[in-house]
């Protein structure tokens, strides 16, 4: 690395001695190779929101707060946190035993740098938008910080464990600059970046000075394999030990192989139709008919081997915003009646447009084509167009999304605000639903500081939105995962796959 301090030198020497005792080539038991669908867009973890890269970043960097496998918010770099009653300030206490990979000690100054100074300095980082409400971060001592907000921000702790919120070192980044940092990233995580080839592979070496539980495996190799069938081939031939995002249909076949285990794990991702409140969907009857006409169970059966849970609200089972006692029925007859009320039927179909991505998540396009067919049977004629995921926001900003868009929304935190509060907020680019009747309620809900009232409010909104046809939730997405049987890992409710949780049996 650049500029070695004395401490670093000593550490490096220690690590070197350790490494010297081990065989030069990583034995299988000492490392793991992961087949991963996408690369990091940059090694500056604050820069770009990419859910897929989150797990990779979590091996090299640490977040102030963390989530356990059940997605409960837990201490991490921050050992204690306390939100003020008015949700306008957050007090944080940091661990004092955390070192960055270059040997520098992590302090509250690094926190202020990452979540405030960087942003104010004009660094192009996506977390600038997540922490928009932050007016200042005070650092009375190296292990304490107080975040101040201009309006109630009850979900900031959640955000401190969410997309892009990773601690970066102030001193190092100021010295080498953002470019220098991206070339040689330094975090506090359980692994250090040893080798990186764009769009090809990432090699991580264990950080032996890690403050937390030490990973069992010394080396994690991440092979970037974008093509799903190539990932299948790689895990089948043993070139990778574990991989995700294989076609659902392959899971059954791979499961039958003697040395492989294949799983369908439900995750915090919801698949739904984002809808407009106007044009062909101005009439509530048509929206509800469209919802009643979709056989979610059949979709799950055909495309997710039945493992994807049909949803009636935009939240996943087990998350705070989910309603156990509410379900939206599949009822094509009712759909026909609703359409007939508005003067439509199979012979005089209601015409709408629909958009879907192709390859953004497993079977997206197939599912969209199946839905079009289901609608056709009750009297809704949809023309389907394929859009790129990145275009969704742009189309929506220009108010140009069609009546219905098949969309998958990942909320690794499980918090209802980041489901409904985003998906149906007319002020945010996720929602094509622009009607302020429901919209204002959603926006107001952001400022509820009391936790119990907040959750109750979101649950009520979820139900209301489904009943008025403002959202057409479809399925809880599943993560397909194939691994060698002898490889253990900890499944996370949001699909994270972390090298530090893996071991060989």
């Amino acid at each position: 690395m650049v500029d070695l301090s004395r401490r670093t030198l000593l550490q490096t020497a220690a690590v070197g001695a350790l490494a010297g005792a081990m065989p030069a080539q990583a034995a299988e038991a000492d490392g793991v190779t992961i087949g991963w669908p996408s690369d990091v867009t940059s090694w500056d973890p604050n820069q770009r929101f990419t859910p897929d890269a989150q797990a990779i970043f979590k091996m090299v960097f640490d977040q102030p707060l963390d989530q356990d496998p059940k997605l409960k918010l837990v201490a991490n770099l921050v050992s204690k946190w306390e939100m003020a009653a008015d949700a306008r300030s957050l007090k944080l206490e940091f661990r004092d035993d955390v070192l960055f990979h270059n040997g520098d000690r992590m302090t509250s100054a690094d926190f202020r740098w990452t979540f405030f100074e960087r942003i104010k300095a004009g660094h192009k980082v996506d977390i600038a938008q997540s922490f928009r409400k932050v007016t200042d971060i005070e650092t009375p001592t190296p292990t304490t910080a107080i975040m101040r907000f201009d309006s109630p921000a009850p979900t900031v702790p959640v955000w401190l464990a969410f997309l892009g919120s990773f601690m970066v070192p102030k001193a190092y980044m100021e010295k080498v600059g953002v470019e220098g940092f991206s070339a040689k990233p330094v975090g506090t995580g359980p692994y250090k970046l040893a080798e990186y080839q764009l769009n090809a592979r990432i090699v991580l070496e264990r950080n032996d000075a890690y403050w937390g539980p030490k990973p069992k495996l010394r080396r994690v190799t991440i092979e970037i394999i974008k093509d799903p069938s190539a990932r299948v081939a790689a895990v089948q031939s043993g070139q990778v030990d574990i991989t995700v995002g294989v076609p659902v249909r392959e899971v059954a076949r791979l499961k039958a192989m003697p040395n492989l285990a294949a799983e369908l794990n439900p995750i915090t991702r919801v698949i739904l139709l984002q809808v407009r409140n106007d044009e062909g969907f101005a009439d509530q009857n048509i929206r509800l008919a469209a919802h009643h006409a979709i056989d979610k169970k059949a979709l799950s059966q055909a495309f997710y081997a039945g493992a994807a849970v049909p949803l009636s609200v935009p939240a996943t089972p087990g998350s705070p915003g989910y309603l156990d006692d509410y379900s939206f029925a599949y009822d094509p007859e009712l759909a026909k009646q609703l359409l007939a009320k508005s003067g439509f039927g199979p012979d005089k179909p209601a015409k709408i447009r629909m958009a879907s991505t192709n390859g953004q998540f497993p079977s997206d396009y197939d599912m969209a084509r199946a839905i079009v067919q289901m609608w056709k049977k009750v009297g809704i004629e949809a023309t389907l167009e394929v859009i790129e995921y990145a275009k969704y926001f742009e189309l929506n900003r220009g108010n140009k999304l069609p009546e219905a868009t098949l969309y998958s929304f990942d909320n690794a935190t499980g918090d209802p605000e980041i489901y409904t509060g985003y998906l149906l907020n007319p002020k945010l680019p996720f929602s094509p639903w622009k009607d302020m009747g429901l919209g204002q309620k959603v926006i107001d809900q952001f400022n509820v500081a009391d936790e119990t009232a907040r959750i109750a409010g979101w649950r009520a909104l979820n139900r209301e939105a489904a009943e008025m046809g403002a959202t057409l939730p479809l399925l809880q997405s599943v993560q397909t995962l194939v691994r060698k049987k002898s490889l253990n890992y900890t499944p996370y409710g949001n699909g994270w796959l972390l090298g530090q949780t893996m071991s060989w049996s």
């Binding site: 076609p247 249909r249 076949r253 059949a298 199946a370 389907l384 394929v386």
Partner: protein
Amino acid sequence: MPRWLRSGRVIVGLLIVLAVLSCALFAPLLAPHDPDEQDLLATLLPAAWQAGGDPAHLLGTDGLGRDVLSRLMFGARVAMTVALVASFGAMAVGSVLAYVAGYLGGWADWLIGRAVDVWMSFPPVILSLILMTGLGTGASNVILAIVLVDWTRFCRVLRSEVLVVARRDYVAAARLVGFSHWRTVTREIVPATIPLLVTLLTLEMGIAVVVEAILSFVGLGVKSSQIAWGQMIADGREAIYQAPWNLLAPVAAIFITVAGFNMLGDGLRRSLDVRMVEGRE
């Protein structure tokens, strides 16, 4: 019987092309199923002769339970439409420019020649990809992209032919007799280049089929509601282990169609005694 019809290649090529064309034209009558009819309970059936196959679906079904054979037949419609329209379009643009350049010479020739140079510095795949990014998907845009990319094929080859023809005595004679430029070109030069034109046109049709398949394969081709072979390949690749015919059938369809056009073109080239530089894409 004209000479060109006595060539075995021409006949075989013509038969293949006509067969594919009739598949396209009569797809609604020939296809055993509605190509868009889904059956989510019978997805990815193998071909009828394989274990677990269903005689109702000769080539099996795709990931949405649609009949592969029927989709193959309907896919011929897009392929043939694009092949015919795009190659005539490319011929029209390319040959007009070639006549102008070859006959007029001078600055017109220079300008057109440089335009061809610029175009030729672009690999066709890259150029069509960029064009489709700008134009957006749809059959008419695929056609437009092919015309915009492939006119140079005609222009380049035809221009040198026009140069040769224009120097012939009877062309000079026509001018001396007082024929207008228009009349000289249309009556004397164009007829002399027809064999070359027809040959190029046939070969271009094969190329157009491939380009359409490529664009649909990468998702930049026809609209998703249209049935296209390239799209079937992209879909079929996902299911290569379960139902390989989803992939193999459209691959075979493209091969047969292109082979038909190539045989026809090759046969015409020989029997019409056209000399041209060979090369592809």
